[in-house]
Amino acid sequence: MYTAEFAYKKATSVAEAIQLLQQHPEAKLLAGGHSLIPAMKLRLAAPPALIDISKVAELRGVRREGDTLVVGAMTTYRELETSDLLKAHCPLIPQAVYHIGDPMVRAKGTIGGSLAHADPAADLPASMLALGAKMKIQGPSGARVVEADQFFTGMFSTALQEGEILTEIHLPIRPGARMAYAKFPHPASRSAVVGVAVVVDGTEVRAAVTGAGEHAMRLTKLEQALAGKPLTTENISAACQGLLAPDHLNHDLVASREYRAHLVDVMAKRALMQAAGL
């Protein structure tokens, strides 16, 4: 059960973490560790150094800044699940988090760790896209902000450049918006075979899916089909048909491409029905 050897560096600030990354360009950042450590134990990953950022105080917690909720990247799932600010202004996140892993995973796993890892079966990326989140990234040359739509670039790949750290997630507060997440879990790992997040903000419908493709993506066909329409059972059912073509979807022991495409329709419908209170 042992990993390969590595050097351990603990960062106490973002600046220090960035500096350590420059000193150890092959290093991996250690957050909650629930993706990285299992991979290291199976010796699928063997980074020469780990930079532990999980205890960097400035990276933790949820706060409100005007019309935005700012979530530190090292905020754990459990903190997200129980955050009063999120429950009040962005209930999608606590709802989605409730179905991630198990209580012990949620105690350690972090939002930033998950988003930066960009596992195609991770839950939260769909919510980030549906909410229109922004990612604050810091690196040796300063800070920049990337829209969620531009953040996920491929399987396990993001807009993060070498030496950069995802530090904050900015969630726009959408007063009165209704939101829901529907997930079809992998029976063994309980990760998302398909997870669909929807945000209904006035007449705008924002929807995104995770698990289906190489990375989480917006369901633009669905968004367009429902734009300006009342959310009736009929409209929802009509819109949730053939949302994604199977050709480029993921496939594994649990779900073929065709079945995954079908699950996207079903989960999209369920999320919308829930958001619409039907």
């Binding site: 059960m1 042992y2 390969a4 029976p187 063994a188 022991l253 649990v254 779900a255 065709e258 079945y259």
Partner: protein, 789 residues
């Protein structure tokens, strides 16, 4: 002792150590000077081993040895034998470390011994093995095709054995004249047992006394000692002690003699230091013997009155790459002999072909053969009932063996000793509210909701084993059981049993019975098991044998104690032994309550024994070897209620009810717990679990990220009750209960799912009923290949 403990739901005496983290499992042990092993395992299902270069590993700091198969063979370590032979069976060698070819993923190619586990694992990666990958075959039927790659050079057609039972001509005639027949082609999915404690072994060799001790995760330490001493290593049996301390579940997977046990014994002597090996879970997946894996064509014939006239079965049973200890018995005597089930079927024929494949060996897994038999039989019954337009319960009722037919001789060797099937069925139907359920089902179908109700009746044969009977069927050993009851001078009692408890609660249930028999407080009894150094020879625990066979031995030994105690009492009370009665915890002269001796008095005087008559032996100790006259035949009715989500194909368990008959229940807490856990394992097979291999023999579901074990939210609270039909041929009338849940529940859940899918015209699907499979069946599209490309 007016209050008998038999039947009492006593809390377990073993629990305080487990709930406080002070259990004592093999991997918990550390010995002075101990070193650790890591195995180098083949990543290929089939490959020629051209060269092993251990030089880098050997220079890695902290590495003590790299052991190869050739080295062990040269040192005279023999192949691991199997324990059950059929006529004509092929038994190619199974060396602890292979040296010519790797025959399944996980086959051991070398063992690294190092100062600690980290170093051993690091160095295992440095052992360079030059493999020549060869074509492999994973599916039993593929292995039988002409030109299939041979697993063993000396078995070119891969046929390990063929076996049959029953009168083929009579069965064929019954089919020829049948009113109706049905035929199912089905797959019984391969399972990975997954006891929660991974296997571990620790060996110590003491040069001074030339003695070995092996601590290992075993259900049957004596079998290991015998196999290692007599066949594999030639260690004199009295110089080898095998201890199975607390063992974290077995379910069959810890019966067998595994290679790692041989390797740590060999290394401990070679290095003069204790050597420990503990499996990682991903090793368990490819090295613990798997279960099931049948491909079967099953047929049933009925007459015009709806009576079953014949059952015909042809099965390919995958043996995997090597024969493990009980493997040949499982798809034969524990399978074909059970095909009568609870029914009066007059003609049964079963033919089995058992091929080798390039996969992990397959052997007994909870239920072992009986779940496979029950599954196919109960599927046939449901399909036939549907063909006949009968309610499946009424079709069963019509064919059940009636209570006045016992002892009942089946056409497949077994003679059922007792049973009362219809009363048991009726109790279950009443508990579940069968008619109301069917009404609800019809109602919900109108709303587009698909409820399924699966009702099955089952029989099993357990309490392994009547030695003469199993010997006549091919066993190389009888399976009687031993007990030694030792009364200490202060009246405390040690009971040594050859069975082993790895979750079954023997320390409690057996003590209850001993306390009753001796009329002493249960706190004065300790049950000792799992150590060849302490108890007489015994065969361990599997096949639901511990209570019917092991406890029967204990009861008869305690009765010898009572007889002896009466003689001592007679001496002390100056009476005739015939006048001594054992009542209220005392030995007294019949009709003279003042003239009495306590158990303590007797125990003490048995040992002080300074004024004994010449014909009375000192001491108070008795041994009994109990060989059962027959198997025991627990039975029952299990009912599953499921709902299928037609949008996703997901199956949800709504209710599960069982009425089991294991005879009189010693401790309901423990017996019911066995049923609950068994049901979860059977449900796992039906809905969740499958060891999936690709065509190259790679396992695709080789860890918990891909292989689904039932979790808490997959299960419901189980509704459970008993009927009581005692076994007529053992002292307490008891039957086994360890496997019943698993034997029954797979079929019950399967029938429930198929019942839910009936409106879609679906007759049969193979397990596990995963969402995509069910969804595709509903929507009529063809299944796609399962493997990811």
């Amino acid at each position: 002792m007016a209050n008998k403990l038999f039947g009492k739901a006593m809390k377990r005496v073993e629990d305080p150590r487990f709930i406080t983290g002070t259990g004592h499992y093999t991997d918990d042990m550390t010995l002075p000077g101990m070193v650790e092993a890591a195995m180098v395992r083949s990543p290929y299902a089939h490959a020629r081993i051209k060269k092993i270069d251990a030089s880098k590993a050997l220079t890695h700091p902290g590495v003590l040895a790299v052991i190869t198969g050739q080295e062990m063979k040269d040192a005279g370590i023999n192949s691991i034998p199997t324990g059950w032979l059929h006529p004509g069976i092929k038994t190619p060698p199974h060396y602890a470390i292979t040296f010519d070819k790797a025959r399944h993923v996980g086959d051991i190619v070398a063992a690294v011994i190092a100062e600690n586990r980290q170093i051993a694992e690091d160095a295992a990666q440095l052992v360079e093995v030059d493999y020549e990958p060869l074509p492999a075959v994973a599916l039993g039927s593929d292995a039988l095709k002409p030109g299939a790659p041979a697993v063993h050079d000396d078995v070119p057609d891969n046929v390990c054995f063929t076996w049959s039972i029953g009168d083929k001509a009579a069965v064929d005639a019954a089919f020829a004249s049948a009113h109706k027949t049905v035929k199912l082609t089905l797959r019984n999915n391969r399972l990975v047992p997954n006891a929660m404690e991974p296997r571990a072994s620790l060996a110590q060799y003491l040069k001074a006394s030339d003695e070995y001790t092996l601590w290992t995760t075993s259900q049957n330490p004596h079998i290991h000692r015998l196999l290692i001493a007599a066949f594999i290593m030639g260690i004199p049996e009295h110089k080898l002690r095998v201890i199975a301390p607390d063992v974290g579940g077995g379910f069959g997977s810890k019966i067998y003699q595994y290679p790692e046990e041989i390797i740590v014994l060999y290394a401990a002597k070679k290095l003069g230091r204790p050597v420990k090996w503990t499996a990682r879970r991903s090793e368990s997946f490819v090295t613990d013997s798997h279960g099931r894996d049948h491909e079967t064509v099953a047929e049933m014939a009925v007459d015009q009155n709806g009576k079953i006239t014949a059952v015909r079965v042809d099965t390919i049973a995958n043996m995997g790459a090597y024969l493990t200890t009980f493997a040949p018995a499982v798809p034969t005597y524990l399978y074909g002999c059970l095909l009568a089930g609870t029914y009066t079927t007059p003609h049964i024929y079963c033919h089995v072909t058992a091929p080798f494949t390039h996969t992990t060996p397959v052997d007994a897994y909870r239920g072992a053969g009986r779940p496979e038999a029950t599954y196919l039989l109960e599927r046939l019954v449901d399909v036939m009932a549907h063909e006949l337009g009968m309610d499946p319960v009424e079709f069963r009722r019509k064919n059940l063996i009636p209570p006045d037919a016992f002892p009942y001789q089946t056409p497949v060797a077994l003679q059922y000793d007792s049973g009362n099937y219809e009363a048991n069925l009726d109790k279950a139907l009443q508990m579940v509210g069968y008619q109301e359920l069917r009404r609800q089902q019809a109602e919900l179908r109108k709303q587009g909701r698909y409820l399924g109700i699966g009702v099955i009746t089952f029989i099993e044969a357990c309490g392994l084993a009547p030695s003469a009977l199993v010997g006549s069927l091919g066993a190389q050993a009888g399976q009687w059981e031993s007990a030694l009851v030792r009364v200490m001078p202060t009246g405390k009692v040690e009971v040594f049993t050859g069975t082993h408890s790895h979750g079954q609660g023997h320390e409690t249930a057996f003590a209850q019975v001993v306390a009753d028999e001796l009329q002493i407080p249960v706190e004065d009894v300790v049950i000792v098991h799992g150590d060849t150094g302490r108890m007489p020879y015994g065969w361990g625990s599997y096949g639901s044998r511990s209570a019917p066979t092991g406890l029967s031995a204990i009861v008869l030994a305690t009765r010898k104690i009572v007889d002896k105690a009466k003689k001592i009492a007679a001496h002390l009370l100056e009476a005739s032994p015939d006048d001594i009665v054992h009542e209220d915890g005392k030995f007294m002269v019949k009709g003279v309550p003042d003239k009495a001796k306590s158990f303590f008095d007797i125990a003490l005087m048995a040992h002080l024994a300074h004024n004994y008559p010449a014909d009375l032996e000192p001491g108070l100790e008795a041994t009994h070897f109990y060989d059962p006259k027959n198997f025991v035949f627990p039975f029952g009715t299990h009912i599953a209620v499921v709902e299928v989500d037609p949008d996703t194909g997901k199956v949800k368990l709504l209710r599960y009810l069982s009425v089991d008959d294991c005879g009189p229940v010693i401790n309901p807490l423990i017996a019911d717990g066995q049923v609950h856990g068994g049901i979860a394992q059977g449900l796992g097979q039906a809905l969740l679990e499958e060891a999936v291999y690709d065509k190259e023999g790679q396992i695709l579901s080789g860890n918990f990220l891909e292989y689904t074990l039932p979790r808490a939210d997959d299960m419901v609270q189980i509704e459970h009750d008993h009927t009581v039909t005692p076994c007529p041929h053992n002292p307490l009338g008891i039957k086994g209960i360890g496997e019943a849940g698993t034997i029954a529940s797979t079929a019950a859940v399967a029938n429930a799912v198929m019942d839910a899918l009936r409106p879609f015209g679906i007759v049969h699907l193979d397990m596990p009923y995963t969402p995509e499979k069910v969804w595709r069946a509903i929507h009529g599209s063809k299944p796609v290949a399962q493997a990811a490309d």
